[in-house]
Symmetry: C2
Subunit: 204 residues, 2 copies
């Protein structure tokens, strides 16, 4: 019996290691797809349409918005980014699980529009470790790092709105936990069709 | 940080294989304890107090009942059986997970008294397979088997009251699923203390 996939949303403070956890998950599962965003920004050399992003015009973006075709969206500088509802729903219908890495505001927008999504908050093992990771990563200036750390206290207040929290200490353990969450969510009674069970004489 | 254990309640139709799944779980985990019931029936040769059951008098049983010391109880013929709240709570406080195999009425009583318990409904892969298992088990007479099968339709109606449903087709997969459920439930935000996280500088 073909069952619908699950939309897994990973978010959390910058530097928690969401991206690395996502990569680990995609590697470990053959039926998991990383969500592809639409964006109005221009493609950069090496980027492929339909792989890194769906590149669309501002007119197309606004039409998608009007037609409620975006599970969430954000404006960054002059460009828009969003998660296309139809693409996600098609994958789920095909039985694929869709993985989405996104900031906290985006995650909460998605839960609102798509309540059956599963929100996972990824935290570093400690605030000190978070700071160390941001410095080690070397992509942000000192004042940006301080700003990010200043946001963390507020971001952590959103944890109760999430379905799960994963402490990303050892990457392997964090991937294991997200994998367990996915497996557990597939055992929810609302995903079980009693009618089908009785009609077909079983599930296998 | 020592975290409280989880009370996992496995129930479902007779013949679904709850007992085998429980044995598999106990074997695969070092921090899981099988709940021990109190009973007013006499011990049989080979049974040990505090291992198979806690053997108590009817007076003691009624006192436990009055003091709300039983998470559930049932009368079978002239004897009483129950799940002792204090024993379960002590184990959970020590960080052990407690596993309880029980009929559907008992499971629903427990959820009522102890809402943080996790209820798992175990079903056979099909009704036909359930019948085959009951016959193969050879412990029940034909009319008892028919009676059990007659109950199943009503029992399946209780699935929505459960937290999870596990289809016990291959034992190994069923044990894996329950293990994943336990791991996922340990990632619930309500088990995460933000205060501790910020105070100790982390969780490790």
């Amino acid at each position: 019996m073909q069952k619908k996939g699950i939309l897994l949303v990973l978010s959390g403070p910058s530097g928690a290691g969401k991206g690395t956890v996502c990569q680990g998950l995609i590697k470990s599962s053959s039926s998991m797809e990383l969500s592809i965003s639409v964006t109005t920004r221009e493609s950069r050399p090496g980027e492929e349409n339909g792989k890194n992003y769906f590149f669309i015009s501002k007119e197309e973006f606004h039409q998608m918005l009007e037609e409620d075709q975006l599970l969430e969206y954000a404006k960054v500088y002059d460009n828009y980014y969003g998660t296309p509802r139809r693409w996600v729903e098609e994958k789920l219908e095909q039985g694929e699980d869709v993985l989405l890495e996104i900031d906290i505001q985006g995650a909460l927008q998605i839960k609102n529009k798509f309540p059956e999504s599963i929100l996972i908050f990824v935290v570093p093992p400690s605030i000190n470790e978070l700071q160390a990771r941001l410095i080690r990563r070397g992509t942000d200036r000192d004042d940006v790092i301080q700003k990010r750390l200043g946001c963390v206290q507020g971001e952590l207040q959103e944890i109760p709105k999430y379905d799960y929290i994963v402490v990303n200490d050892k990457l392997e353990d964090a991937v294991d936990e997200v994998t367990a969450i996915l497996k557990a969510e597939k055992c929810r009674p609302k995903r079980f069709s009693l009618q089908k069970y009785l009609q077909t004489g079983g599930l296998s």
